[in-house]
Amino acid sequence: MHEFRVQVGPARFRIGSVWEGPIRALAELYRDYPTPTITDYTVRLESVSFLRRYIRPSVAINGDFMLPDAAPLPLAFALLAGEMAMNVQMALGWRRHLLLHASAVEKDGKALIMTGESGSGKSTLSAMLGHMGWRFMGDEFVLLDLVTGEAMPFPRLISLKNEAIDEMQTQVAADRFGPLMRGTPKGDIRHLVPPRDAVQSMGVPARPALLLFPSFGFDAAVRPVAPSEVFARLTQASTNYVALGESGFRALTGFVKAVPARAIDYRNGDEALMLVNQLWDALT
């Protein structure tokens, strides 16, 4: 079994695989990150059967926490499988923070948090802002401290999809990208290593200052979102709200009452960046 350990934000992972390739690829992409001795979670990228280790190799996504209906992926998508398995550990296992399915960037100690369905552009926007003077905090999960309400970074590899790949390739050096995976169940995917400052500062939290619900593909517009709607949508965007019980309720109501929220529609990256900057200047 080949093994690789990595710490992302406060979470420490051990990733084991029967194949050396995926482990080497992960180690290369996570080269800027610390290597923990003790880990919170184990992820296993195993073959679905002995024969499928060699013939049309297929990766089963296993670990301490597993989704029973997670379909195996071809070995060519092993990096994606590894990232998905790490996400599953966080989504199902993490209890130290209220976990929101959202991206985040930071400026002046304050966090801009963006949440929405897959395809809303939250990941791409956080990647773009993270290369334009903001500190990238994460494109998948925001971890809210249950006592202070601060957002803790979880700056795993940025998962770029489809058009966002071309967009970021024009802005970032080629050696910061992983291999291009075409035709995955989520479309074309290419991982981007977060900027070095994001990794070096991944233990530094930020005070949530603005929440955005971006929607890609509509004429530019901004709408306020009522606190009760924010509350309802964030309970759906959190994988551990129910498990945390009263702690989760207090953290979420504290967040909703303190942080202004807007829904923004946009047709392209420039439009989105303009709206984000306008709202940030006006509301924080």
Binding site: P227, S228, F231, A232, G245, E246, F249, T253, V256, K257
Partner: protein, 94 residues
């Protein structure tokens, strides 16, 4: 109008955490670990009910001044029954 002789008892204060957000209020019920998102008159009903059991008719009287609608009794009774189903009030006696 259904049986107003019903007497209700609200869950102890310590069991409910109530946070008004806007037109809606969120309530965390400790005993069940459940979050409820409620609209008026539910927060007003809970505010009217003290720690002692209270007759439905008295709850209606308490709230009648706040809600100037024709069928206030039926509305409040329906909400009380829903709250009883959720466990945030209890039917003490029918």
């Amino acid at each position: 109008m259904p049986a107003l002789p019903i007497i209700y008892l609200r869950a102890e204060n310590a069991q409910l955490i109530t946070e008004p957000l806007d037109a809606l209020t969120v309530i965390y019920h400790r005993r069940s670990g459940t979050t409820h998102i409620v609209a008026e008159p539910v927060p007003q009903i809970l505010a009217c009910m003290g720690t002692a059991p209270m007759a439905a008719a008295d709850i209606v009287r308490c709230l009648a001044a706040l809600f100037d609608v024709d069928d206030v009794e039926a509305i409040i009774f329906a909400r009380l029954e829903e709250m009883a189903e959720l466990g945030i009030v209890e039917r003490v006696r029918a």
